[in-house]
């Protein structure tokens, strides 16, 4: 709730202690806010209430609501409430629900990916019994059911909380899952057994309180307690979804959304969630980790960083032809400012400098994904850098065919530039490249390694102007200079070169 809204409060009793509670608020939310543990399965704050798991029961003593056990996810706060969260009937009811849910659950925790972050485990530990009373055989349902390219379903583990169903029904608005049959034969299925589709499937895996829905990408990769979480921002589009990046042994294994009511709520798209393989790439997979300079044999050779920077400065200060300096829209604010300072030393007559403004991709939707395939266009515009779009770039390259110098800098630019531009760059003149992978530009004269957004600190400003902090989830190889440091070094090199040119010119005039 935003602070500007005035919320009426009322005094209610919780376990005998008086609290100021928001009138009309949801009881379970308030109980959790004040630190009570209310076990639940079907309730999720981002979804409509279903009230079918019956696990979140508390006891009401007040006259204002009906006395006895009430389901706290359905109850709104009214005056005079008197709630017990730990009473004997409450504990018996919770243990009862646990017993029913575990009766036919396969209890295959040792081989279940969810173990360690499973609500059923937690609640069994918190409220369940230490033994089962059932003498009956467990019911069997399909296992490892393929729900398309991203998700597998295990119907035996499913406790039918229907969060995933409600997610598709109410969040994306396109129903894809349903419960077939009824009673104990109830089974979660897709409509007509068709595979799931869409860009938001991954969220149902986060929502699943048990190991019924698992992401193929993460299956059997790691126990969740071995993962190192980093709170950062997704860069797949200009929405800037808040994420948790989970890393084990220097590799990203999973990315999940982090709640931010104002940006992404509880969700994120599959593109941001699953397209992280590039960040895990090392030299073997084609990552550029050292500075390289074109040798006389026409091949790129390893070079010292400072030599490469000097050569870069030399190439940029040229009188022949146009110089095009293009910054990636994945750059942070800090990099944008450093780049801006760098290009301001150059003679504007001869130079086209700015950040690349990607073309509207058409991938946007009503939920989160925007049409801008890069995270920081708005921020870079605010630093005063010029936005250079595809058309502008194409004409400039065309006009200066064979005689221009192109400096591409920053992570992500090689993926963003369309193939036609890449072809034109090849024919442009000389290419100076600073990026993550050389794959698209083997014809570079100088190649410098850049950091990925998973390796750096900094700010991005999303499409609605929200400044969000980026934290490093991975450690960059030691041979790579931070992008900001590179621009600073390059600035120094350029400055020295330009000053010496001025000095030379001055000396010449005196002579």
């Amino acid at each position: 709730m935003s602070e500007t809204q005035e919320v009426q409060t009322t005094k209610i009793l919780i376990d005998g202690v008086e609290h100021d509670a928001p009138l009309g608020g949801r009881l379970i939310d308030f109980l959790q806010d004040i630190g009570k543990i209310i076990p639940h399965f079907c309730y999720h704050p981002g979804l409509p209430v279903d009230a079918s798991c019956r696990q979140c029961q508390v006891e009401s003593k007040g006259k204002s609501s009906k006395p006895g056990l009430i389901v706290s996810c359905r109850e709104t706060i009214v005056e005079g409430m008197d709630i017990l969260t730990q009473s004997k009937p409450v504990e018996e009811a919770r243990a009862g629900v646990m017993e029913f849910l575990l009766k036919n659950h396969p209890l295959d925790c040792p081989i279940c990916d969810k173990a360690g972050e499973c609500t059923l485990q937690d609640n069994a530990y918190e409220t369940g019994q230490d033994h089962g009373r059932s003498h009956e055989d467990r019911h069997h349902f399909p296992k490892r059911k393929d729900l398309g390219e991203k998700i597998l379903l295990d119907n035996e583990r499913c406790i039918l909380c229907r969060r995933c169903i409600r997610f598709f029904d109410h969040v994306t608005g396109e129903s894809q899952l349903k419960v077939s049959d009824r009673g104990e034969r109830s089974i979660l299925e897709t409509f007509f057994d068709e595979p799931l589709h869409g860009n938001y499937q991954g969220n149902i895996v986060d929502l699943c309180p048990v190991g019924a829905l698992t992401l193929k990408h993460f299956r059997f990769k790691s126990r969740p307690w071995f993962l190192h979480p980093t709170h950062t921002i997704c860069g797949s589009c200009s929405r800037g979804c808040n994420t948790v990046v989970e890393v084990r042994d220097g590799k990203i294994l999973r990315i999940r959304p982090r709640y931010n009511e104002d940006v992404n709520g509880y969700w994120m798209c599959d593109e941001g969630r699953l397209d992280f393989d590039i960040y895990n790439q090392g030299v073997e997979e084609g990552r550029l980790e050292e500075a390289m300079v074109l040798g006389p044999d026409g091949q790129l050779h390893r070079a010292k960083m400072q030599d490469a920077i000097d050569k870069l400065a030399e190439a940029l200060v040229t009188d022949s032809g146009k110089v095009i300096l293009l910054l990636s829209p994945w750059a942070t604010q800090e990099e944008g400012e450093a780049f801006h300072r760098l290009v301001s030393t150059l003679d504007p007559k001869n130079v086209l400098a700015g950040f690349y403004q990607p073309t509207q991709s058409g991938k946007g939707d009503d939920l989160l994904r925007t049409d801008e395939d890069a995270p920081n266009c708005r921020g870079l515009r605010e630093t005063g850098l010029e936005a250079i779009d595809e058309g502008r770039l194409a004409t400039t390259l065309e006009d200066n065919l064979g005689s221009s110098t192109v400096f591409l800098t920053g992570f992500g630019l090689d993926e963003l530039l369309p193939d036609t531009i890449k072809l034109r760059i090849k024919g442009a003149g000389q290419l100076l490249f600073h990026g993550f992978r050389l794959a698209h530009f083997p014809f570079s004269k100088i190649a410098m390694p850049a950091m990925s957004p998973m390796e750096k600190n900094g700010y991005w400003i999303n499409q609605e102007g929200r400044k969000q902090y980026l934290r490093p989830a991975l450690q960059a190889p030691g041979t790579i200079l931070e992008d900001v440091a590179l621009y600073a070094a390059l600035y120094a090199a350029l400055d020295a070169r330009l000053n010496s040119q001025k000095d030379l010119a001055g000396e010449g005039a005196q002579a």
């Binding site: 018996e92 029913f100 009373r133 009956e136 009824r182």
Partner: protein, 441 residues
Amino acid sequence: MSASTNYSWPPRETQPDHETYLFNRVAIENSHLLDVARQHGAYGVLEESLSNKKPGEVTALVKDSGLRGRGGAGFPCGFKWTFMPKFDDPRPRYLAVNADESEPGTCKDRVLIREDPHLLIEGILLACYAMQCQGAYIFIRGEYKNECMVLQKAIEDAYAAGLIGKDIMGKGFDCDVHLTRGAGAYICGEETALMEAIEGKRGHPRPKPPFPAGFGLWGQPTTVNNVETLCNVPFIVEKGPDWFKSMGTEASAGNVLSGISGHVKTPGVFEVPLGITLRELIYGEAYGGGIRDDKQLLAFLPGGSSSGFLPATELDTPLTHDDLKSKGSMLGTASVIVLDEDADIIQATRILTEFYMDESCGQCSQCREGTSWLSEILERLEHGKGHPDDIETMLELCLQMKGKTICVLSDAAAWPIELAIKHFRPAFEKAITAATEEAVR
């Protein structure tokens, strides 16, 4: 109304020794046709009420009569009508008619719908007039194919005769009647699941509150009434509350349709005044006629499957809401199922529980898992594979299933087991002892 009397289906030659009204027309040949029904008084009360009575007066008559719902819960009908918002509320309002008669042993609405559909339509229109509903939605059980066809024809005939639709009988009241056929789920007889089903969704009960009178069909104010309840309405409006209260008992007024099935000589559906004893119903010549082959009575269900088994010692219980409630049972649909001494009470309980397992919608954890667990235990017991802790486990499971779920199907599944164990515990214990002895040997 017609002067003929009849109290039984199938009709009998014998005349009843009490006043009857609900079944009077069903014995007449072709009573389901509009012309025949009108010759015998159908729609007379409607015309009179539309001309001379205000909506509130109709509600008051029904309220004063003490008519209680005949669908199972026994909620006072007129009182329920007064929950609807005031007439200045701009929202549309509906009547939902529960013709999803699926309780095992119950087939009373079926006779009314098939033999006297115009009585039902008249009752519906009177209720709609009293509550000023724009439309009535009848939800009929999917298995009632013939009844559905009869009722559909009756509705069409009534439309053609200007008895439904715009400006009914030229009295300026508009009301539509729609017929929706179910797809074979017991749970759709639960009022909120019924509304979901009418809306075309899966028949899952909705959590209450909100109650239907505030948020019903398509989110609009709605009252849900049973077929038999509505069939009482024209008579109450015609003859007045005092006449109605002269039948039955003080707290349970009027006549009720009671179906008697199972091990009796002459099963059937009978119109009886509330307060009649179960002994009379089961043994009376005019009704069940006694146990077949003159055997001993073992147990009976007094009001449909959810009401639970009562033993022969409870035969003198009067058929009223309160008397049966005090025995831990309920009047329910007043449909009596009789078991003779040859029946196995464990098997009978297992069959009932299996029914609930099959019909649970599967929403709530307790009901979905509990009904199947209970029937698995009972099946083991039935086949001589009991465990010493089975009775205790079943009672605890029943306790966990009662009063903790969205609707009362879970409770309804637990009651018969609790009552069976209460009254027939030795039978259960014998099954368990036999099984343990077998295991030891």
